[in-house]
């Protein structure tokens, strides 16, 4: 099994659990095999400098070119230079999460419309399939 995303200084992570759930942060130091020191930077993502368990986190494919224990200023500059916010929004993971959120916020009327759309789609597929046979 080949690993492509590594826990390293500068790796941008998405926090999955806890009070900072849903926010991005960058790894600025590694504590041990399970924990990392993470910082938003606070002004960009709202995550304060803290130690977080790797179980609470998913690695994204974005890395920043920052040194060990970078300052807020340098982190902010790197964050902006890489344009992390928009890069992440374009990623498959972000799109998937946005879709999940949208589905959860559907009203009863929305669900009805989706049901009709699914039926139409199935109908069109079956029709095409019958034509191909």
């Amino acid at each position: 099994m080949v690993f492509n995303k590594f826990v390293e200084v500068g790796r941008v992570v998405l926090i999955n659990y806890g009070p900072e759930k849903g926010k991005l942060a960058t790894v600025i130091n590694i504590v041990d095999g399970n924990r990392v020191l993470v910082d938003g930077p606070y002004t960009e993502t709202g995550v304060r400098r803290q130690v977080i368990n790797l179980k609470r986190v998913t690695l994204t494919d974005i890395t920043l070119n920052v040194g060990l224990q970078s300052t807020e200023k340098k982190l902010k500059a790197a964050f902006k230079a890489e344009d992390v916010a928009s890069k992440f929004a374009e990623s498959a993971l972000a799109k998937k999460l946005a879709l999940q959120k949208k589905r959860a916020s559907m009203t009863d009327f929305d669900r009805f419309k989706v049901m009709l759309a699914k039926k139409e789609k199935a109908k069109a597929i079956k029709k095409k399939l019958a034509q191909l046979k």
Binding site: A104, S105, M106, D108, F109, L116
Partner: protein
């Protein structure tokens, strides 16, 4: 003790100098001046007061009856999902709350067969979809409108008759009122795409759907 009080035995609250200041009698004039006069408060008599007052009863603490508090999610024109009774699963339009607390709803009749009806808000899920009911006039309809029409006929004959007959006048009146209310409603419903189909379709739960996790 008057103005002063003992904090502990032998320890007064106000010391000598403070007490002196508090005693109005000790408002001594400055050297060479006149002694200040403490003006007596003039006693003014206000309203004429009865010598033997008449007893007035205290205000009643009994609550006057009022209709059940309407759920915040239910607004005039809201589409409601009926959860029990003959029209279980139907999506109906809420018109107004009646003085008894029950909700006045209508299908509309043409769309899902539900007539003008009363329903308890406990047996209803309110959706966030609303229909424009500004053209609908529900003034004529109240709780008395739904009272059972009894034709008192005595004896066994009468008993069987009453069971089978529906007063034709009553039926005609109901039909007319239904039409009067539904016409503007149907016009408003047709303006929104798929809303008519939505009201026609019954509400169902499919696999994996949990009402407590769903947003209505």
């Amino acid at each position: 003790m008057g103005r002063n009080e003992m904090l502990a035995p032998g320890v007064p609250k106000y010391g000598r100098s403070k007490m002196m200041k508090m005693r109005k009698a000790n408002q001594y004039a400055k050297k060479g001046g006149e002694k200040k006069k403490v003006e007596e408060k003039k006693v003014t008599y206000g309203k004429y007061v009865e010598a033997d007052p008449v007893k007035v009863p205290l205000p009643s603490t009994k609550r006057s009856s009022r209709p059940t508090k309407l759920k915040k999610t239910i607004k005039p024109g809201s589409v409601l999902i009926v959860l029990s009774g003959r029209f279980m699963g139907k999506r109906v339009v809420f018109l107004k709350q009646l003085p008894s607390g029950l909700l006045l709803v209508t299908g509309p009749y043409k769309l899902n067969g539900c007539p003008i009806r009363r329903i308890n808000q406990a047996y209803v899920i309110a959706t966030s979809t609303t229909v424009d009911i500004s053209g609908v006039n529900t003034d004529k309809i109240d709780d008395a409108y739904f009272a059972r029409v009894k034709e008192a006929k005595e004896g066994e004959e009468g008993f069987f008759d009453n069971q089978e007959k529906i007063n034709p006048e009553w039926l005609e009146k109901r039909k007319a009122d239904q039409k009067a209310i539904d016409e503007p409603l149907l016009a408003a419903v047709s303006k929104v795409s798929l809303l008519a189909e939505y009201l026609q379709a019954p509400f169902t739960l499919s696999k994996g759907q949990a009402p407590h996790m769903m947003k209505f």
